[in-house]
Symmetry: C2
C-alpha cells in the first residue's frame, strides 16, 4: 500500500458473499484495499424505505458508494472494472460466459458496462464456460477465477508471446478450480466442491460438527485423512460417501479426537480432489509432469494445505502466487485500454 | 391400529431429531402410534425454570410423559423398550456398542436400564460397532438400525433356526446403512452419508439450493444423475466432488431446470452409493447374487428411489419391508423376556 503513487484504476472483486475493492496505481501496484461483507447475495441491508428491492442498480450503487466513495471523490474519472458474481444472473448485470479457449484479449473485448448514478461506467468481466462432451467430459463454468488466471498469466514474459506451454493453475476455495492453460489461453478446467462440503459438514452435520475448531492444522489428522481420500480401493472402496462417515466413526470409537475431526475431513476431501484431478488428467491423456509449471493461488492458509497435500502425494513442486486477482483486474483493464 | 387388542409393550424409536412411540399388542401388532419432534438433540423446550439443563433424566422423562402418559395411565406396568440415539453419549444413558457379529439374542442380553420417576424401568437397546482392519476396511457404527434389522430377521422362519444364509439389508436415510447378514447375525455393514449430503446441498449450497422442490420424483432427472453417479471414469473421472458440481453447471448452462436439480442430485448420490456398495462387496469377495434376499426398509418415498435405482442398475430384485422398527422392538423385548 502506497499513497504516494498516482491512482489509475479501481478494481472490484465482487463475489457471492463479499466485495473487495482495490485502488491500483501504475503497473497495477496496490495503493489501497477496502472490503465489505456485501456480496451479491447479501445486499438486503441496503434496501431503504421507498427504494424497492427490485431496483438492482440502486443496491449495487449503494454498496459501491459505501466502499469506494473516498476514491470517487478524489478522482471522479478513475476507470472501474469488476469481476465475479457481480456479472452473474443474480449480479448487477449479466456478463454472459465466454467459451473456452479464452485468453486475456478475449476477456478484455467482452467486457460489459453498467453506469453509476453519475453516469460513469463500471466494466464487468465475463465468466468462462467449457462445453463438455456428453458421456466423455462434464460441462464447466467459472466466474471470478478467469481474472485470477489472467493475473498469473500477466506476470509471465512468455505469456505476452502466447508461449507459456502447458500450465496447471489451482484455485482452491468453496468450489476449487483447476485450470489447464496452453500458450496463455484457458483451454479447459475442472471444479471440485471441496470447500463447500467441508463448510457444510463441519457446520451442520453430526459427521464433523464441532465447536473445537483450532487455528493451526493438525498435521497427523490431516495426513490420515489425505491418505484415505486419495485411495480408491481397500478402506476407500465405498467411495467418498462412505469414507466421509469415518470422520464420525473414528471420533466415536476413540481413534480421532473431536478437535482433530476438521483436519481429518479437510485431508480426506483435499486428497479426494487431488486424486480426482489426476484421474481427469489421465482421462485427457495428460499427466502432472506434462505441465511446465503448477501454480496455486487463493487464500493463504488453504493453499498451504494443498501444498502440504501435494508434497505428501509426491507431486511435482507447486508455486504459490499472491495477489492474482488485483493483477488480473489490472491486466484485463490494460488490455481493454481502460488504462495505458 | 386396533384398540380392541390388549397392550403388551411400549416401543420407542428415539432418534436425533424425533421420537416415535408405539403401543404394541400380542405378537407385536401395532395398536397405536404417537410421535413428537423431541429427538435427543431437541429437548431444550422442556427446560423449565428451576430445572437445570444438566438434569438429563428430567428432560427425557418429560418427553416420555408428554407422549406416552395416556398409555402409562391405562397400564402402569406395561414394559417399555427404546432404541436409537437415546442410548448414545448424548442420550438418556449410554448403551455401549456391541461388536459384530451380533444377533437378536446378543442385543436382548445387552439391554441397559433407566428408571422413570415412578421407578418403572425403560430398557435401552445398544448400537453395534464393527472394528475395521486398518488399511483394509473402515470401522463402522450404527444405533437404531440394529432394531430394524432385528425386526426384519424376526419375520423369517429361517431366522429362528439361525439359517438365513446370506442376506443384504439396506436402510436408506441420513446415513444409509447396508447390513450383511449371515445366518441371522449381523456380520458387518457399511455407511454412506447420502441423505446427509443431499439435505445439506439442497438446503445451504448454491450447487443445488432451490425453493422449487417438487413432491414427485422427476424420473428423467433422477436417471440422468444416477447414470453419472454410478460411473467411475469419463465424465465421472474426477469423482464425486467433481460430479456434484454438475448439478449447478447444467442448471446454469440450461440443460437442467431448477426444479429438476434435487432429483438429479438425488440420483447422482444414490448412484454413487450403490456403486460404492458394489465395490465394497467386490473387495470382500462378495457379489449381489451371493445374497439369497436383498431387503430394503425405511421411509417409503426414499426407498422407492432406491428400488428405481436398483432396477436401472440391473440389480437382483429388492424387497421392501415396512414397520421393521416396531417388529424389532417387539422381537428384542420378547427375546429379553420383557413380553412372553
Amino acid at each position: 500500500m502506497d499513497d504516494a503513487i498516482e491512482a489509475r484504476l479501481i478494481g472490484l472483486d465482487w463475489g457471492t458473499s463479499s466485495l473487495r475493492a482495490y485502488l491500483l496505481g501504475e503497473s497495477g501496484r496496490k495503493i489501497s484495499e477496502r472490503s465489505a461483507p456485501s456480496g451479491v447475495m447479501f445486499l438486503d441491508r441496503f434496501i431503504l424505505p421507498g427504494k424497492p428491492q427490485s431496483n438492482r442498480n440502486y443496491l449495487f450503487e449503494a454498496v459501491l458508494q459505501e466502499i469506494c466513495q473516498p476514491w470517487f471523490v478524489e478522482n471522479p474519472n478513475l476507470p472501474a472494472i469488476a469481476c465475479g458474481m457481480v456479472g452473474s444472473t443474480v449480479g448487477w448485470k449479466e456478463a454472459p460466459y465466454l467459451q473456452t479457449p479464452a485468453c486475456i484479449a478475449d476477456l478484455a473485448s467482452a467486457l460489459i458496462t453498467v453506469l453509476r448514478q453519475d453516469g460513469k461506467p463500471v466494466r464487468i468481466i465475463p465468466g468462462i464456460s467449457h462445453t463438455g462432451i456428453p458421456g466423455k467430459t462434464l460441462p464447466e463454468i467459472l466466474r471470478g477465477e478467469e481474472t485470477q488466471i489472467a493475473g498469473i498469466l500477466s506476470t509471465m514474459n512468455e505469456s505476452r508471446q502466447g508461449k507459456t506451454g502447458k500450465l496447471l493453475i489451482g484455485l482452491p476455495g468453496t468450489h476449487s478450480k483447476w485450470a489447464y492453460i496452453q500458450d496463455a489461453c484457458l483451454v479447459s478446467f475442472s471444479t471440485f466442491v471441496t470447500g463447500d462440503l467441508f463448510a457444510l459438514l463441519t457446520s451442520y452435520s453430526v459427521v464433523a460438527r464441532t465447536n473445537k475448531k483450532t487455528a493451526h492444522c493438525d498435521d497427523a489428522a490431516f495426513q490420515l485423512g489425505l491418505q484415505l481420500g486419495r485411495q480408491q480401493d481397500q478402506e476407500a472402496a465405498g467411495g467418498l460417501l462412505s469414507t466421509i462417515f469415518s470422520t464420525r466413526t473414528k471420533r466415536v470409537l476413540g481413534s480421532l479426537r473431536e478437535e482433530e475431526q476438521p483436519d481429518y475431513l479437510s485431508g480426506l476431501l483435499i486428497g479426494s480432489e487431488l486424486a480426482g484431478l489426476e484421474h481427469i488428467l489421465e482421462r485427457d491423456s495428460l499427466a502432472l509432469p506434462d505441465f511446465s509449471r503448477i501454480i496455486l493461488t487463493g487464500e493463504k492458509n488453504l493453499c498451504e494445505r494443498y501444498l502440504l497435500a501435494a508434497r505428501a502425494l509426491s507431486w511435482p513442486p507447486m508455486e504459490y502466487v499472491e495477489g492474482a486477482v488485483e493483477m488480473g483486474l489490472w491486466s484485463i483493464a490494460r488490455e481493454a485500454a481502460l488504462v495505458s
